[in-house]
Symmetry: C2
């Protein structure tokens, strides 16, 4: 038996936590910290950590649970309320990066960087990586400068929610096309069938949870998270094996379904510690481990810089245009664009999936990570600049989305206080 995996895991947990805290202090998401931890410890820099079967296994499960949790955190009810503005901003904010990312790739996906397979799909895949916004940095920054409860803030939150889903729809289509000799008609039929399948499963699962909820007394709650996890695993498997759709899409769909059951919040609360104690740090550190800096020649560095420029520029243009269509002032359009410019987890997960499927040349993985880090560093700076001198509050309430995040955290604190109280009680009994 080998015990190295214990040390590897301890190293990953410590380094991702420390770097996560440091990056958070500088208003970057903790994901960037975890990525940097993997980069630093991995073969690219220090070489202390090597990719291993153990880490790969945990990371494979990790991405499924991360997407499942993302699904559970996406409230479809909120989606209905987002209104036209969010919808239009999201659409434009997906189409422009998709197009510009594809065009950029057309210029670079050739010569020494050429990769076997369908060139067009590979190019579109890079566009897909650029579609999904990561809104957490924007939320933090807007909170700090007191601009979250504004019309601009609410539009950004709504658009980011929709844009995640649109990004995943793009991924669904692109990955479905990846099989050899695919017939576009059959692919579209399979995607359609997957959505029908998901809808049927949703109805069945909601009914099952409701029926079960009424039968089970309050003490036996553990079976709900177990049932939800089984649903997630089966949908991920079915998506991949039966419909040729990415497994992470199946997991995300399962999360959406579970969020709408009566035990949705309870189940999400049970998956949270699995994520932050094990799966999330390992997944993102493992992504960092895979980067090999020696492969980065001059062309790749140029590509990395251009990718970051296209990533930010395309969201600025796309979301800005969308906001303009909705009657925002020019200044507000820039604010919306800056707020939507950040990329994060989803971009990395999509890129990782693309490498596994042979749709992304691994040499482009480094530039994608650099792009994510650049976006994370630049977004708060751009946002603060865009809001400078802007003191007009329009008095809207903070979005429910943020409320729900905060309520969950507050609940954690309450639960902790209860635990402490219980311990105190037991201690006083002992005396």
């Amino acid at each position: 038996m080998e015990y190295g995996f214990l040390l590897d895991l301890a190293l990953i947990l410590v380094s991702t936590k420390i770097l996560g805290l440091i990056t958070r202090r500088y208003q970057m998401p903790q994901v960037v910290g975890a990525l940097l931890a993997g980069l630093l410890l991995g073969p690219a820099v220090l070489g202390v950590l090597q990719p291993s079967d153990f880490l790969t296994s945990i990371a494979e499960l990790g991405v499924i649970v991360i997407m499942f949790s993302a699904g559970m955190d996406t409230n479809l009810q909120d989606l209905k309320k987002t209104g036209k503005a969010g919808m239009i901003v999201a659409f434009c904010g997906v189409l422009v990066p998709l197009a510009l990312g594809t065009i950029l790739m057309i210029f670079f996906n050739r010569g020494e960087l050429s990769y076997p397979g369908n060139k067009l799909l590979q190019n579109i895949f890079m566009g897909t990586v650029l579609t999904a916004t990561s809104v957490s940095i924007t939320v933090e920054t807007l909170k700090e400068i007191g601009k979250l409860s504004t019309r601009v803030g609410n539009t950004i939150l709504a658009a980011a929610l929709i844009d995640d889903i649109l990004g995943l729809v793009c991924l669904t289509i692109v990955t479905s096309m990846a099989g050899a000799d695919v017939n576009v008609g059959i692919v579209l039929l399979k995607i359609l069938l997957f959505f029908v399948f998901a809808a049927v499963v949703a109805v069945g699962a909601l009914w099952l949870f409701k029926w079960y909820d009424q039968r089970v007394e309050d003490r036996n709650l553990r079976r709900f998270p177990v049932l939800a996890f089984v649903l997630c695993l089966l949908m991920a498997f079915a998506a991949e094996e039966l419909f040729g759709v990415a497994d992470i899409i199946g997991a995300f769909a399962a999360g959406l379904i579970v969020a709408n059951t009566s035990k949705g919040n309870y189940i999400a609360s049970k998956f949270s510690p699995i994520s932050y104690l094990l799966l999330t740090p390992v997944f993102f550190a493992n992504i960092g481990l895979k980067v090999e800096l020696p492969k980065m020649n001059a062309t790749i560095v140029i590509f990395a810089v251009l990718l970051a420029v296209v990533a930010i520029g395309s969201k600025l243009i796309g979301c800005g245009l969308g906001a303009k269509f909705c009657g925002f002032h020019l200044r507000q359009c820039v604010q919306v664009g800056c707020g939507m410019a950040c990329r994060g987890e989803v971009a990395l997960i999509v890129a990782n999936k693309g490498m596994a499927m042979g749709m992304l040349n691994p040499v482009f993985f480094g530039p994608i990570i650099i792009m994510v880090v650049c976006c994370a560093v630049l977004t708060p700076i751009m946002l603060k600049f865009a809001f400078k001198g802007d003191s007009a509050y329009d008095g809207l309430h903070q979005s429910d989305l943020v409320d729900s995040l905060e309520q969950r955290e507050q609940l954690d604190v309450v639960a902790q206080q209860l635990l402490e109280a219980e311990k105190q009680l037991r201690r006083s009994d002992d005396d």
Copy 2:
């Protein structure tokens, strides 16, 4: 990429849960259900599930977290209060099974069942497997017949707690001896050094947690479980690599330390979902997967029957004698003996460790599983028989041990109600 691991995991979760619920209905622990799930799905019977790298990785981590959680659930304060009776019953209840198990093995560890390595250590190892009592079935049965709050009930609880620790001390010594050309003096020195190391780490960790607890505001609680997990992993690694002691002992020691910090209960509550959602089902199902029935010839079947007889008989004799020394009546001695007869998780974990270290011939693994299942089936029957016609309550309160388990479950219910209330609140806001 292979997606079979998604289906494997779903199968394991569903089957362990269903069989766990069935075995619980018949008053057997859920571990037996998980074992049977692995046996049934695995190569031994249906052959639907095969051992895989993925399952092995999860199971390797699983046993560490299970022992860590066991450590967190062991309250050293309770240990101090158990008194002389529990101590004496535990000691006799460890020595007699250790001796009888070793003697049984002397007769069988030869001829075709012979296994390379130190015969004496292999024989003592089988004795070690028989040392640790699993008290959960007894607790359930005594609760049901209303005898938990009696002197006998309390003695059993106290003895089971101590006997787990004594069993792990035996394991520590036996595994330390397993190295090639070991010098007994050096081994004992290393074990002593490990205890010194654990004590130093304990003082350091308690100080660190206290200092950190005062510095950190209430919202950032996540770092405590992360810190505790890192401690567990490092101690498991150090135990194995620096002191030649089993990694699971290091994890258990880390659990004991964490239980004594101010955040002990909170941390334990965060590890609970990781255990029941992923690690425990996979670990025990994986144990079932490893059993190959075709290897079970007549000799092995005879050994299995004798092992079960020795397992139950040795606890009856050992614990019964111990109770006699403490002035219990003969009838009560039988009750204590029956209550201590059950084996469970720890026996399987120890046996699994022994196989990995080459100290246990894999052909003996089947009999150990059969022994665990037999004990689980027979203990409640024996207990009910031993208490038949016995209506004398001595009016002691239920042990704190059981209280704390119940309080934790109640808290789960309260937390759930809070979550529901929050959801209701949010819904009414939406209207």
